[in-house]
């Protein structure tokens, strides 16, 4: 009897608990409100840009006394976790800096506000932005979610002293060629800049690849799904594309021989002793390694300009990415934008701030700060002049835009899932745990996410 009653009680308790568990939460995204004034919160992750945007906020408040902008800055890693909790708890900032790798997810969940109507109503000219940047902010549903605020491309930082010692001229570095078969002059230079502990260069007899003093080329990571700074500047010149669309594709091309050949060549640099093994990427960052004289060259994004220009004790030069089989260079172009949180009660005020951020007044302030390249074309000359003060030849970055050799960041839906699969697959290839041909199976897994 006792047991029976206990069972009955357990069942009753369990049912009660289930009812409780399922019945007390509300879901869906709060539609927010359109209030046109008050205090709005603005989040960003880039600390170096904070002073410029603080200035923008002050200027904005002077012109619009009815709106106060409170800026908060968090480092990249914390940023997205905080934002996520903010979304769940309905306490996300009214406006926040967004990334092309993330906003598709937010848009498809209705967490950020499309701005097509606002752009049309206020007559904003999207052609005034640097070519290719405005399109990056057209989401998977064809709607526009942001106005580009800045843009970035890819280039090669090199140690000028090491290049001079090796007899490699700036002219040579500006005219590098590359192909996946023998690596072209790009590989020649990488080999020549590699020095073992006996002082023997990578292309000289007696080179000991197991005891390296300086690697010709550094490595940041395996590159995961997009290889933004790692290999995208190579794969693009072979005619390869990520997927069956400019962005938001559903079928991927990691099984393409051109892609796998490029990765095989890139990985070959490790075998030859010209590039450190993937395992060396756990620890210090590329700029620290470069400062310590461990790398002669690294491929990096333009957002690192201030970091590399500021490295003490090393003389840094900047060169464009090599010319590939297509006969042209290639550099991935990305752009950040400010997006509006759907549940913000002050979307009217939020839009006025977003509009101001993308305007000539604010972008001019950003351009003069010389830490990033604003997206508005009218500010480009100001920006070039400010950035030139770093002493680096930023035409390595800007020529790619001017010559139309950039290609857009491959934004995808399910980005976290794609990332999980591709980081693991690329890590295994680069760590020599799997062959480049294993990327065909990874491609199948990624494709399956979209079926």
């Amino acid at each position: 009897m006792g047991t029976k009653r206990r069972i009955a009680r357990t069942v009753a308790a369990f049912t009660g608990v289930t009812v409780l568990l399922t019945g007390c939460a509300s879901y869906g995204v709060d539609p927010g409100g359109d209030e046109n004034s008050g205090e709005i919160t603005y989040w960003m992750w880039e600390a170096a840009q904070l002073p410029a945007y603080q200035q923008c906020a002050e200027d904005f408040h002077a012109a619009n006394p009815d709106i106060d902008v409170k800026i908060e800055q968090f480092g990249w890693d914390d940023y997205w976790n905080k934002l996520f909790t903010g979304f769940v708890a309905n306490s996300a900032p009214d406006v926040f800096v967004d990334h092309t790798s993330r906003y598709g997810e937010f848009a498809s969940r209705g967490l950020i506000e499309p701005i097509d109507d606002l752009v049309a109503a206020d007559g904003i000219d999207v052609d005034a932005y640097v070519q290719g940047t405005a399109e990056l902010w057209i989401g998977p549903d064809g709607k526009r979610y942001g106005l580009p605020k800045d843009f970035d491309t890819i280039g090669i930082y090199y140690n000028k002293t090491m290049a001079a010692d090796a007899g490699v001229t700036d002219e040579q570095l500006k005219n590098l060629t590359w192909n996946p078969a023998d690596g072209g002059t790009y590989e020649d230079v990488i080999a020549h800049l590699t020095v073992d502990q006996n002082g023997v260069r990578g292309d000289e007899p007696g080179f000991d690849k197991s005891r390296i003093q300086t690697y010709g080329l550094g490595i940041n990571s395996s590159g995961g799904p997009n290889g933004q700074t790692e290999w995208s500047y190579l794969t693009q010149t072979t005619g390869w594309t990520y997927m069956n669309a400019r962005a938001w594709g559903t079928e991927f091309n990691y099984d393409d021989p051109r892609f796998q050949e490029t990765i095989a060549w890139w990985r070959g640099l490790i075998e030859k002793g010209y590039m450190p093994p993937l395992s060396f990427t756990e620890g210090g960052s590329q700029d620290q390694q470069m400062q310590a004289g461990k790398y002669a060259m690294v491929t990096e994004g333009s957002w690192t300009l201030a970091t590399f220009a500021g490295l003490e004790g090393v003389d840094i030069g900047l060169a464009p990415t090599p010319i590939g089989p297509s006969g042209e260079r290639a550099a991935m172009q990305n752009s950040l934008a400010d997006t509006i949180f759907t549940s913000s009660p002050r979307k009217g005020a939020a839009w006025r701030w977003v509009k101001y951020l993308a305007s000539a007044q604010c972008q001019d302030v950003v351009a003069r700060s010389g830490v990033v390249m604003p997206a508005l074309q009218s500010t480009t000359e100001t920006s070039k002049a400010a950035l030139a003060e770093t002493g680096l030849d930023i035409t390595a970055y800007t020529d790619q835009i001017d010559n139309g050799t950039t290609f857009p960041f491959p934004a995808v839906l399910n980005s976290a899932e794609v990332n999980a699969t591709m980081v693991s697959a690329m890590d295994n290839v680069m760590a020599f745990q799997a062959d480049p041909s294993s990327l065909t199976a990874a491609n199948e897994k990624v494709d399956a996410l979209f079926r």
Partner: protein, 313 residues
């Protein structure tokens, strides 16, 4: 507790209620007890019990936080057994726990014996516990830099000895042992202190008797210290093993599960699934499995080590 109430009852019953002499007092006593327990109980209910129930419920659903959970029955659990990453995460975690617990327990025992038998200096004791006072994340980052293959100080020393650079965190075979030993370094002092406290409770005359009988320190450790320390050791092991299974922060700030899946311990996988990939239902299922495993491990440990009994008189 039982003793206290037995002593208290007769005195209280004399104050009133002839029919049920101790009902009044015991109720009041219970209320008092409840009042004392209430804050802890509330915390337990709100932060542990309720989330656990919710977690179990979510494990039967597909849930991304933004939309209502959809009941999917046992689908998550079925997927789990076909998930190679989960299998790998379990293996990696077990490897981590084995290295961490074995090295930590042996070292802690050694340090505790030294503290107990050689020196009782408070200064030494505070030095031993020092690493534990540094935040986990700070320890992890410091080791991450010190153990860098190219610019880390450790490899600088190894280089002088003619040893080629070792990628402690980056080598797929070394990542987990490295992370496990970093955490051993941080926790060993604290564990040693717990064991030391247990040793202090062992009556001194047992050692004197041992010495009279001509036993060596080595023999006394195996015949006196270890057997009499058993209940404390059992408790310490349960706590450290359960804690070890939940390793997360060191991985999160260093390798983030990589390279590949080499250091994707189970807690990091859960975090990854839930907070990066928004698969809260599936992540809950993994958590429930971890919960069951931990409960079983703790139970087996306590049973095997007869933790409830003591051999001290």
């Amino acid at each position: 507790m039982a003793t206290t109430s037995r002593v208290a009852r007769p005195r209280l019953s004399s104050t009133g209620d002839a029919l049920r002499p101790d009902s009044n007092g015991s109720t009041r006593e219970r209320l008092t007890a409840l009042a004392f327990i209430a804050p802890a109980l509330l915390g337990f209910a709100v932060f542990y019990f309720w989330p656990t129930l919710r977690g179990v419920y979510f494990s039967f659903t597909e849930y991304d936080v933004f939309n209502a959970p959809v009941f999917v029955g046992l689908d998550n659990y079925r997927a789990l057994f076909a998930d190679a990453t989960f299998g790998n995460a379990m293996l990696v975690t077990v490897e981590y726990v084995a290295i961490n617990i074995i090295s930590q327990t042996v070292l802690a025992l050694l340090i505790a014996v030294l503290l107990h038998r050689v020196t009782r200096s408070v200064f030494v004791r505070s030095i031993v516990v020092m690493p534990y006072l540094v935040a986990n994340v700070v320890v992890a980052l410091l080791f991450y830099w010190m153990l860098d293959a190219q610019i880390g100080i450790t490899n600088q020393f190894l280089g002088w000895l003619g040893i080629e650079p070792v990628a402690f965190f980056g080598d797929q075979n070394l990542a987990i042992p490295t992370i496990a030993l970093v955490n051993t370094w941080r926790h060993v002092g604290y564990t040693a202190l717990l064991l030391f406290a247990g040793m202090v409770m062992i009556p001194h005359d047992v050692y004197e008797a041992g010495r009279v009988d001509g036993a060596s320190e080595w023999k006394m450790f195996w015949r006196i210290t270890l057997p009499l320390l058993r209940p404390v050791l059992a408790l310490v092991l349960v706590i450290t093993v359960v804690g070890s299974f939940q390793a997360f922060d060191t991985v999160a700030v260093t390798t983030a599960g990589g390279p590949g899946d080499a250091s994707r311990v189970i807690q990091y996988y859960i975090f990854d699934l839930a907070f990066q990939r928004l698969q809260f239902g599936y992540a809950s299922a993994v958590s429930v499995v971890l919960f069951v495993i931990l409960a079983a491990v703790a139970l087996v440990q306590l049973k095997l080590m007869r933790a409830g009994e003591s051999d001290v008189a």
